[in-house]
Symmetry: C2
Subunit: 448 residues, 2 copies
């Protein structure tokens, strides 16, 4: 129990992990590359708003952190779809009472850091991971004054994100490390719809707004101050794209033509578009995640994914939750524990990576299709009739933490094949509510 634990990175996952480990009595030191964000004003424009859902909530509740988060979370019960003609369509995410939560990454991170410190973890800011001596598990950090510090840990977690410095040191010094970083051809840019004159929301606050435009989309998530954080997901090349929009006129014309209602709420759209950075979207896969009883990757450092299923943070929090159940099971046998952690979580990380990539097409294109919305309605109906047998894929991932991501992926492929067959029926629009259709679907499900 006297293990000295080092966590590299005081982000969302590193901070939550610290709380879990302190509850088990471990000495925990976190080394964070950045300064203390609680003492700084945040740089805007580089953080997609987060959608906290059941997997993340379960992990936060387990350590009593959710009570501190709920006040800063805004429920979103469904998708508010903004069509090109200005019409809006609402699509609920799940059954009544099921929702995801808009939270600010910054606020959430600050809260978790404070809780980690209150639990007895120490956070060392402005420590940049430079080098690792793997034989001694010694990590070398560079401090802000340029000096170097060596720290030895019995057990080290790399929670330092998609471009993990600790993982790079592992990759460079170990043979047979499988590694892949793949970018999609789309980037994103954050924009803000400010609060109204009296601090009121200028659109429906309890929804995730989407402007699906086939090859690109705008989304908006509500903030407690009445504003919305919007994100434009847009190709880097082609027409239209970040490359093709060059002149002020091109930019303004594009926004007015494609997102007229949102643009009307952003009088400063041009300066926002010009000044906010364009960021890229990466998926990182690697293996192994662990080294003996003394090193493990966690969160984005192990499995960075694209944001289209809103699961990046939730998956990282679930890593902590699973580790906790394994600490219960294996006690201090960290070798067995980390092995099981890896063999449980690697397939789930791969699965949510794939689900997240697939969901981009759904969000930017399919949700604009009435046939797709009908399919979702049919699935919701079948779910209400057969709640244990047919759970829509989105709900499995988002509201069913007892279903593993890897199971949800398999189930979703199976269900989608059945639905494709059903939707091909010429009379589907007239018969979809019939018990005969439902029985056919459930029968198919069991036959496969």
């Amino acid at each position: 129990m006297s293990k000295r634990v080092i966590i590299v990175g005081a982000g969302l996952v590193g901070s939550l992990l610290a709380i879990y480990l302190r509850r088990r009595g471990y000495e925990v030191n976190i080394y964070e590359r950045r300064g203390d964000m609680r003492q700084q004003s945040l740089v805007a424009g580089r953080s997609i708003n987060l959608a906290l859902s059941d997997r993340g909530i379960r992990a936060l509740e387990e350590v009593g952190a959710m009570d501190h988060i709920r006040p800063i979370a805004i429920p979103m019960h469904g998708r508010q779809i903004h069509q090109p003609d200005g019409k809006e369509v609402y699509q609920p995410y799940g059954k009544t009472g099921q929702y995801i939560n808009s939270v600010s990454r910054g606020e959430l991170n600050k809260t978790l850091m404070t809780l980690a410190e209150q639990s007895g973890a120490r956070i060392h800011f402005q420590y940049r991971c430079l080098q690792v001596d793997w034989s001694a598990n010694q990590f070398v950090f560079e401090k802000s004054d340029g000096s170097e510090v060596r720290v030895a840990g019995d057990l080290v977690f790399a929670a330092d994100g998609a471009f993990s410095a600790a993982r790079l040191q592992y990759q460079l010094q170990h043979d047979r490390f499988q590694y892949q970083q793949s970018y999609i051809d789309f980037g994103y840019k954050e924009l803000t719809i400010p609060a109204g004159a009296n601090g009121q929301f200028q659109m429906e606050p309890n929804a995730l707004h989407i402007w699906p435009r086939k090859n690109y989309m705008l989304i908006a998530l509500p903030n407690p101050d009445g504003s919305f954080t919007c994100t434009l997901f847009f190709p880097f090349e082609g027409d239209p794209s970040f490359s093709s929009l060059q002149s002020d006129e091109q930019i303004l014309n594009f926004f007015h033509a494609q997102f007229s209602d949102a643009t009307a709420l952003m009088p400063d759209i041009l300066s926002q578009y010009r000044n906010n950075p364009t960021a890229s979207l990466v998926t990182v896969k690697c293996y192994p995640w662990v080294l003996e009883d003394r090193f493990a990757l966690i969160g984005d450092a192990a499995h960075a994914i694209v944001p289209f299923f809103g699961q990046g943070m939730n998956c990282g929090f679930e890593d902590c939750f699973v580790l906790n159940t394994l600490m219960e099971k294996h006690g201090s046998d960290w070798k067995a524990l980390l092995q099981e952690y890896q063999s449980l979580r690697k397939p789930d990380g791969d699965a949510i990576a794939e689900l997240a990539l697939n969901n981009f097409l759904e969000m930017r294109d399919r949700v604009a299709n009435p046939r797709f919305l009908l399919q979702k309605k049919i699935e919701a109906k079948i779910h209400s009739q057969y709640p244990d047998q047919w759970v829509p894929a989105y709900a499995q991932v988002t509201f069913s933490p007892h279903i593993r991501y890897s199971e949800a992926l398999v189930n979703s492929l199976k269900q989608e094949a059945i639905m494709q067959q059903l939707m091909a029926r010429p009379d589907i629009e007239s018969v979809w509510e019939s018990p005969e259709v439902e029985a056919w679907v459930i029968d198919k499900l069991h036959k496969r």
Copy 2:
């Protein structure tokens, strides 16, 4: 024309590239991490013998280097397959007069270094690439005394191999670099069959020897001194594997049972097995390969592949050959040149990576199957009748440098599908030499 060119790495590709660039009048400095191998004795056991074939030969001939290589190359006209029962089967690689060449990586590299220097390139040994300042194209190297040297190049080629340090600096400092390193579950270990008492070969010298054993294999290539360099390709885990063979008895029993004839020629097999390192097998894919008019990856740094098609070096040499044709075409417009280099070579690098992975199964398993050998005979027959219409995949890759790897891959998939259909005929063993069969195959080929 006064461009200062830097090449990182004086390996096979870096040295040949230097010769090409000198012929165009560029100032060329090569920075090599290792010492000068011409002044050192080579460390044995880490270099698969190379199979030089037509793509590589074409690239060497273009600069007159082949005359210096031919004396150290041993022709191999086919595969000599050693069955578990001790019987041997010979399978020619192509038509009479078509062969691949066994060459020692070390001797070839030394020859090319000397030719590069004779052409006016300067090789700086023991310069390790540490850092790159991309804004100034300044490369920082560490010398053997620990001092650092900054060198600026107008044009820099990273020819520093599968684990390219220059590529890593590119990856770390540029957004959206696609990168993948994937290891197969097999490793390799080099072994040596010495020359006979009077320096004679103890097996057929003009063949590539294979002991195919389904999930693993031993191969042997001849050396000019009468010895053979053998390579055991073997799983890391499982039974049998590098992990499962632990005791002296286990090792000896395995070799005697599986490779009795080869083992009889290696009286020191146990110490060789124990002392020679086990190495891993990686495929590296990345993108982009070039930066503006001033940086390009080449050879393994751009496309490291597994060795089972004998094309790693040949592909790297072909990179040089293609660059040369592009220098002819684009003159000093290196921006257009590098763009075309990348768009031509990236799909070919991906294709040979796939072909090489596929050929492992062919070498370790399929060549042991009489049905597969029959299929090869049928293809050879059709090729002799229709030399321009049906070229077996192996010959396209190995003996047909005018066919791009990416075309060869497509063709090979198409041809294999036709052959599978043909081989499914119950009477194939009796009818395969009939004109009717040949006509059917050619007809299929044109229909697809």
